[in-house]
Subunit: 429 residues, 4 copies
Amino acid sequence: MAIMHRDDELTQDHFNTMSLGENRYPTPLKLSAGFFRMGERVLYNNVIGPEGLVDSHVRSFERPGPAKLLHFDPSEVVIGIVTCGGLCPGLNDVIRSITYSGLDAYKVKKVYGFRNGFAGLTSGEDDVVELDHAMVHNIHEQGGTILGSSRGAQSVPKMVDCLQEWRVSILFVIGGDGTQRGSTKIAEEVARRSADIAVIGIPKTIDNDISFIQRSFGFDTAVEEARRAINAAHVEATCLKNGIGLVKLMGRDAGFIAAHATLASGNVNICLIPEEPFNLDRLFQRVEHRLRDKGHLVIVVAEGVGQELLNSDGYLSFDESGNPRLKDIGPFLKANIASYLDERKMPHAIKYIDPSYLIRSTPANGIDSSFCLQLGNYAVHTGMAGRTNCLVGYWNQHFCLVPISLALSRKQTVDVNSSMWRSVLEVTD
Amino acid sequence: MAIMHRDDELTQDHFNTMSLGENRYPTPLKLSAGFFRMGERVLYNNVIGPEGLVDSHVRSFERPGPAKLLHFDPSEVVIGIVTCGGLCPGLNDVIRSITYSGLDAYKVKKVYGFRNGFAGLTSGEDDVVELDHAMVHNIHEQGGTILGSSRGAQSVPKMVDCLQEWRVSILFVIGGDGTQRGSTKIAEEVARRSADIAVIGIPKTIDNDISFIQRSFGFDTAVEEARRAINAAHVEATCLKNGIGLVKLMGRDAGFIAAHATLASGNVNICLIPEEPFNLDRLFQRVEHRLRDKGHLVIVVAEGVGQELLNSDGYLSFDESGNPRLKDIGPFLKANIASYLDERKMPHAIKYIDPSYLIRSTPANGIDSSFCLQLGNYAVHTGMAGRTNCLVGYWNQHFCLVPISLALSRKQTVDVNSSMWRSVLEVTD
Amino acid sequence: MAIMHRDDELTQDHFNTMSLGENRYPTPLKLSAGFFRMGERVLYNNVIGPEGLVDSHVRSFERPGPAKLLHFDPSEVVIGIVTCGGLCPGLNDVIRSITYSGLDAYKVKKVYGFRNGFAGLTSGEDDVVELDHAMVHNIHEQGGTILGSSRGAQSVPKMVDCLQEWRVSILFVIGGDGTQRGSTKIAEEVARRSADIAVIGIPKTIDNDISFIQRSFGFDTAVEEARRAINAAHVEATCLKNGIGLVKLMGRDAGFIAAHATLASGNVNICLIPEEPFNLDRLFQRVEHRLRDKGHLVIVVAEGVGQELLNSDGYLSFDESGNPRLKDIGPFLKANIASYLDERKMPHAIKYIDPSYLIRSTPANGIDSSFCLQLGNYAVHTGMAGRTNCLVGYWNQHFCLVPISLALSRKQTVDVNSSMWRSVLEVTD
Amino acid sequence: MAIMHRDDELTQDHFNTMSLGENRYPTPLKLSAGFFRMGERVLYNNVIGPEGLVDSHVRSFERPGPAKLLHFDPSEVVIGIVTCGGLCPGLNDVIRSITYSGLDAYKVKKVYGFRNGFAGLTSGEDDVVELDHAMVHNIHEQGGTILGSSRGAQSVPKMVDCLQEWRVSILFVIGGDGTQRGSTKIAEEVARRSADIAVIGIPKTIDNDISFIQRSFGFDTAVEEARRAINAAHVEATCLKNGIGLVKLMGRDAGFIAAHATLASGNVNICLIPEEPFNLDRLFQRVEHRLRDKGHLVIVVAEGVGQELLNSDGYLSFDESGNPRLKDIGPFLKANIASYLDERKMPHAIKYIDPSYLIRSTPANGIDSSFCLQLGNYAVHTGMAGRTNCLVGYWNQHFCLVPISLALSRKQTVDVNSSMWRSVLEVTD
């Protein structure tokens, strides 16, 4: 799908951000002297080896901020916002922050929300809603997105038609990697038409699996809620003879939530993530050993674990109506662990919890809300400055701009040599 | 199973509590003058009709409290506690309250916990744990039960042997109706042996379905947690085109949690409980109508709904490993609603949440904790006074004693003519 | 202030509810056969003594419900709602429930909210807001009251002028005892003018101190929040040498919150309520004894404790700007305990927490929300049936109507001979 | 107090960590090939200017991790832990992590906790407690510190005597800047005696004000709890005419909590931090203007604000017993704003909330727990490797070692030119 670069193949070109063109409108923001220097950049690699600078290329991300000269005339700017894909804590915070920043700081003309994901960019005016203070004032206290969401691609020319029809200057696309692939296509079509529309992606990934984005909004909240589910599983497990609590968490390609919720809970005995090879027999042995030793255990499994096994072994699970369904690792593990223990005549009780919807629909917690608010502010600065086809990311403690092509060039996954993962192993072994 | 009495067939005899025999030991409690008058009773029926007293029988429950003369010599008393069946918020609170009340107020000799439900009364000393202040001090802040639990019957003679072996004077059995059936058998076997052992049941029913018990511990906490799940379903539903949130809640025979969580949430459009006849076609129509009207809806279903349908129509669902499984209404509804809408070419997205384990493993909330503490105190007063074969219940705002035979004579269910249910209908229609 | 009746001086007359007059409009509600029988009543006393019926008078409350014939023509009804006094969890739930019940069940013409308490009934149209579905849909998820509140009396004739000007048929007054004294005066002025306006009080008392109202909305939520503060005080106390956590809770005349939060927390060592005589020396001794024994303690004090002492001893505390202030028991205790321990050269650290605003501004928890919704429904039934000058209360497990004059005839306080208070003493001693 | 270096005066020498001496014991940890390279370092400055590398010195922190060769023989190691100063969410998590890492990963001989802060290092064996799995298993679910805490210095020689007496090899000191000043003195006395004891500081600062430590444990949890208090103030303010919610938050020198809680809440209108000059008249004008405009407002003030004013103007407030007290900005503001508005005949109601104890006694939230667990692991690696007189910090997304002298050389404060602060100004103006 994406061209995978090895880290040392990446050049500074991969990190450079695209601009729409000249900046000539003075910002309406009062910028104090020391505030922000255009052109600052954030180093990609801030670890140096014993032998000196590891990263000979000294690659860096552009650092966003309020420019003195803007690409767009604020009084003419129409902002569009669209939210795509699955829910994630903080969506409403970001919508609110963009709206406030646009209307209050830059005094833009209008802020429109397009409803129901990209579909709202092709479906006519019923799906366009003007956002103002009254409408967004309290929304950060609710989960979900007031704009609604959907999955799936739409006709790119139609979407750009829509942007032009509504005279959108800056489109903010809040969504995951699939969505941002769409953002890039929109930006390319915009370029093809020589239209003057900035396309700014806000990376939304509850799994934290978008590359070059160390922190994505909603993740901290998700860890907190995941911990609740794990602790419930722990209570159930400890109250039963050979009780097993099994919790499936989000994470198709990346086990960050599983890993951090394991660290947060302190009650997990086995944590399975997609980044580690999965071996069913070894799992059975660990389960049996732990039950014989302690009489109960808690397993956390990221949803992406064992997909190769589910496929290659021709395993089929069944959905709730009896139809074959592929690849749901949670019930698969529940059934197989039960069979294994039944064969060994070990009485047991497995309590399986799938808290995904409870996690993703939660309102953002405090620090996530704070992060979302800043993220929205940065996004608006970036759009007003005429950057396009990039994500507003966070790297080594600074907000930064990541070209969408770079972000999509690979998946971010848990480094199993990292000390974070080492801590997981220590706390679960 | 149980002899069902119509309400007007119940006589005062059904309400009278059994005693072990003479009370002759002065209580060590300092009882102030006005505190408690032995022999007070709580009216069963406290509503009178326009024509005057409805309840001509004037039946009443015994009101428990600290007796001046005890049946047992406190300094010789050994208390036993056992927790059976599924988890429920507040189990640890009750264990703690009984332990404190026994050790501190009555200065009893010992408090033992028998582990893993009734199994702990047949399995030897590894499953017996002495409870003291240090052990129970903080346990009310955790969900579950520190004693563990199990389901299923055990040999009654063996259990009474165990009680005699450990010289237990009062056995507190915390569990649901199945469990209390066991309590009665233990009490009967105790009587057969002319042993001097009180058996006091503490009704545990997260569904609130034990008769003659208006308030059971953990219920308020369960409603709170159920509301969380409903609100998550609501967020999911409102963020999707024709989004449907479907939440299955506890309630095999009684829809109290579903009803109160519906009232609490304010976001439920259809609430299905076992007490109302279930009609699939009517459900489909309500779903379709609501989607066409508003574009999203939330359904709450108690687990006991539609069992006759699932059986009589020969419907089989499949468990997670592909084996047939009977009677899980949640996935059944999910699948059938999806089929119905698919046939009508209505795009939709159903998000199904089963929060049961999260609900039952939660620690008790404040008011439940307060209730549990008092419940444990009353239970100890009741046992010390030599009552047996009864539950410590709550009726018309007072704690009361309910003979187990009375409590088991029928199930408590939601009165669909009650104003509570009327409120549910109003808020969901 | 109020005429205090001894319990046995109350006659049935005191319990009877006033009506506006004839009921002749058929209800628009579909009432199933078994639903509700007009004229049912709830016994005041449902405890009988050993010698038989204690309450020879058999006094009873009217039981509210949806009448078949209404006093008002629903299509002409204008509902008014006003919220007065301090905040309490659940205010918005009640406003929402009345609005929904009026508009949806009875299809009334209008629902108005008068803003800022009784002041909104005298201040002109800026303070009148029409309530509809969109406005109240989500309000139960926020604390406080969307109508705002205020304290203090207003001109009764002016308020009735206002009701007549806005053609209000039923006024719902949500407030405490001071407020309901105003409700009575409004009802009396209405009667004087022979106007056809029902005045229905909804008792709001976070302290639970309104008589003949066993359960008032927001109380359970308040206990939960109070427990949080107590547990914080406990953590602080246990982490310091001779650490003392001191928590002041609501309760001018009644210590219900202090008592139940003490039971809920399990971490309180001394619980002071206004109903018990307060002795400073005895408190000092208990504090010293506990510190020498365990090294830390937690004290909960209801705000009404020790007022006589603060006054009679001429003690003045100072407010935050140095002005004398009367009667804040929290800082008084903090200062005096500190002095006492200083004199005895006992090092110590007192952490004082006043969580009142945090408690009262919280949204209602699940079971409180469920209660508020039903309370609002009952209130509307009651008004439509033409009852007036009464509160919608809750007694012995049933909603009931309480004449305001009866409710105001005395304060409800903690019965220090009750087993609830006995449990507090056991758990704190 | 401390020598303040300007940033460009700091040389690499300031960043270098001290070691006790030779490392010769092989680690018992299984270290996979790619895991950790000794000698890696984290750049101090990872932002480069438009003109190229800003930080010509290329200063860097040592990066900690599990060394292949240890300074101490693990089987002989005795670990000591002490917690000092005020409470902070996560203390127990860190204690638990160090204990687990010591006992399980490194198989050290013993882990001792010294109770009640540094006092426990001088007060004899009653204050020494051996920590094992059973003791620390659940402690992360409680707030506070199981070891207790205290403030104030102790005799350094006596403390080192104590360490030697208990044969402590590594002392972990969890505390703020005052405490770490003590750690340095202990390390110096250890060096003077040529003893072989590592002193590792774990920076604890709920205010986030320790320099060169970008993230300190408990901060995220504190922001969440602070938000709760702000939202309560907001509810109170909006329900009253000219309602003012005033919340004092932690932050003597640094307004990080105030700033982030403001961003998190979205309901704050004025945020006052010590880093900004404080002008009372300007505050009055902002308050008056906002009240006239909107009728309510919320002010957040960090405790360190306006100290110069409180002192230089000779203003005295009074404590709860009427004695003069210096410098409590919360009541000062409450009183002065009230006077100002009274003079202008503006009716108003100020609700003042001081949630500090509620914030600091809370258990760590999920992501803080995860952070604490890793922090403890790193601390143990660092001690086993023989580093000393340093803190385990976090900088630019990596754990790092910070010489205590460097950390104490200045305070970390909010950069009022940062975009974070800019976001605060935008959201409050």
